[in-house]
Symmetry: C2
Subunit: 232 residues, 2 copies
């Protein structure tokens, strides 16, 4: 889905809006109109429409037929549901490794998440969040099922918004290193069930954390936007 610049204008708008939604610059629930966006980007409505339609299909916003587009609301319950889907997909990816365990690749992955050489400069940075997400994608990728990975990426698209909200402290970074490492080790030890159990717990922790963080951060962001004016 994240192809290279496919259609210059339309794709630019798409990427731009997507980022805006992720960063909560486009506040959930707010309305955007094609005309307004077309003016803002200095293009016609056509590429804007294309971008909006894509975003709608992908779940970033909802289109009320003859009325307008609304940035998708973050619903804490719905977010939790996405996490459960993640569990289903990621656990199945581990199960699929039973056919042929990709020892070498898992070992490489484990090396990158060795708590001994943990990147202690990363805590509190966006890049740690990216790395965390990347771990799960890489791990799932090793099952040899690109379709599953595609679905997992799609799920990630929906939870990334909240995934980035709370910045992790040093302890939770280290904890993540340990957990990722342990999951890999279980796989290397041929204990796929054990890996699955750890993975499930790991994702459930994220799920719980996301629930705590969401409402607080959302409110904070709202206040910032209110003060900083309507960010035209």
């Amino acid at each position: 889905m994240t192809e290279s610049p496919r259609k210059w204008t339309a794709d630019r708008i798409y990427q731009n809006l997507r980022q805006g939604i992720m960063n909560l610059e486009l506040y959930p629930g707010s309305r955007v109109t094609e005309t307004e966006l077309a003016q803002r980007f200095g293009v016609s409505r056509t590429p804007v429409r294309e971008a909006l339609q894509r975003l709608a299909v992908e779940g970033y916003l909802t289109i009320r037929p003859k009325h307008g587009c609304y940035i998708r609301q973050l619903d804490v319950f719905e977010l939790a549901e996405y996490y459960d889907v993640r569990v289903g997909l990621e656990l199945e990816s581990v199960a699929l490794m039973g056919k042929r365990i990709p020892y070498r690749e898992v070992a490489e992955l484990a090396e990158d998440w060795d708590p001994g050489r943990a990147g202690y400069g990363l805590e509190g940075t966006e890049s740690f969040k990216d790395a965390e997400e990347s771990f799960h994608i890489r791990l799932a990728g090793l099952c040899g099922n690109p379709v599953l990975v595609q679905y997992l990426k799609d799920v990630n698209n929906h939870i990334r918004i909240v995934r980035r909200l709370g910045l992790p402290d040093r302890d939770s970074v280290l904890k993540t290193y340990h957990e990722h490492y342990d999951i890999c080790q279980r796989i290397l030890a041929n204990d796929l069930d054990g890996a699955a159990t750890l993975l499930r717990a790991h994702i459930h922790e994220s799920q719980a954390k996301s629930r705590e963080v969401t409402l607080v951060q959302l409110e904070r962001r709202r206040q910032a936007l209110d003060q900083g004016s309507g960010a035209g």
Copy 2:
């Protein structure tokens, strides 16, 4: 994703093309152009473009940027991958029932698939295929995670093409009844792990069957299209 008629023209084209792709009237790999479709439906290119873009995002066709649209190839390996995703999602839905087992709804579902009162008129009909798919959607729906169900529906959209290819004989219909019924019974007996095991095996059987049937039927359909001319 299967909303009611959202936008008259564009949605009509979308539904129409989607059906065409499902029924293999639009043969996999063939090219379609916006202009051609616009003429065929007697509308302008705009709604056609919208329909094509949706179909592209949903994976029914691929758009080569300045060249045209190609109906998605059916790849037997890829289809198998979709089946594995199904396993992941459906098994997780069963696992999620652990929080609160919906006895009454599962009992109703079991009743509908009681082998004793099996609908023996159904074998060989399209409606049996629909019912089969519906069982899995209903079952997953009972876990109380609409997002998961949405993903499962999406997966079904991709495998429905092949799911319908081979018509089932009487034996496999009865077998399906038994398996569906047994899965429900395990859940009612509070044996979610047992249900999961059965479910996994059940889906894997479909997966294997689909693999057999696909290539044969695909070839048959191709020949029919060749004989019956280009089906303008």
